[in-house]
Point group: C2
């Protein structure tokens, strides 16, 4: 429905992306609170008024940065879920990589931590949407594991909720900091425990026997 | 080693307890930040100097209040762990009651929430000790479940770590608030999932067969 020619739209998209990248770099270097919209504009050699044409507030810029970051985690989770191999292995890799990406961002980099803490407080819908997306990816992977006979017959949607809730300590920025001094359970120990819940009982004497009541 | 007669010691203990009770009531009514040591002293009809004879700071009083609250949760957990019946049922009751006590305190009562948030930030050793005590109670109960043949043969210390970490969403004050809008998993759904991990595989055709490699 837009009247603008395509090239204008593309140029505006590119400008938005440049603002988000510049903001992310400045938040990373100076912290979210200390970075102003004027700083972001200056860094890009544009006026604050021009930045406000694209984002109505610093909060809106932070939300765009948060969307970029959560999008990267979601893309990686999708890649892991779609890989080859047993569902259990893929689930472990997915949870491990998600934890690593978050640890890299929130434990090593306290400035990024501040930005995400602000997003959790002020932009909960974005975080919530991210959690729902990850939940969907987990549920699909568990559904596949059940279909392959690896996992017990359970509700994959519910199982994904439980796995996600159980992993909160490894993904929630503030909890990761609070739990930093607690060595156990390691992520692998926790994944073992969760896979023990998902797995089909082993001691079946005969290889056939599926489909029986 | 104390030179004071027993009656003096007992009187001092009673005064400490009165200060803690008064502080708890005032924190509850006005909030932690808004309550001063002078308020607590006035409420008890004593001088601030006298309160400082027993507690060196408001933080020390808050720690004593936190110890009272965590002690109540621990006592309830011990009662549940020592009850009669299957270990799985006792574990469910223990986790449910722990959640209820925390929900009562931190969700319904935002003033208490503030106090606990301060304790988590400023008095982490007390929270940490509480978590270790609860972990010990859980490990003992799981050990008993294994011995009774209800739970699979696993390391009870590690399993208790996993159960505790998985339950953080139901017990951590700030997370309880953040997750308040997420209906799943309910506590019972989560306990089902954790018990599925702990339980011995069901489909054993013969009742004997324990003790086999």
């Amino acid at each position: 429905m837009s009247m603008a020619p395509e090239s204008v739209e593309l140029r505006e998209q590119a400008t938005r992306a440049r603002i988000v990248r510049a903001a992310q770099a400045l938040f990373h270097r100076y912290g979210y609170q200390k970075t102003t919209v004027a700083d972001i504009a200056r860094d890009l050699g544009m006026s604050s008024a021009n930045v406000y044409r694209f984002f109505e507030s610093k909060k809106a810029i932070n939300e765009a940065v948060a969307l970029t970051l959560t999008g990267e985690v979601e893309a990686e989770a999708r890649r892991n879920a779609a890989a080859a191999g047993p569902a259990a292995e893929r689930l472990r890799k997915l949870l491990t990589d998600m934890h690593s990406m978050n640890a890299e961002r929130y434990l090593r980099d306290l400035k990024m931590h501040e930005m995400v803490a602000v997003a959790i407080t002020e932009s909960w819908p974005i975080i919530r949407q991210h959690l729902e997306t990850i939940h969907g990816i987990l549920a699909e992977l568990i559904r596949e594991g059940i279909a392959r006979g690896e996992f017990r017959d359970c509700d994959p949607v519910m199982a994904a909720h439980c796995v996600q809730a159980a992993m909160v300590r490894y993904c929630h920025p503030r909890l990761m900091v609070e739990c930093a001094g607690m060595p156990h359970p390691t992520l692998d120990e926790m994944v073992d425990f969760l896979l023990a819940s998902l797995s089909r009982p082993r001691p079946r004497p005969r290889p056939e026997g599926r489909g029986r009541a």
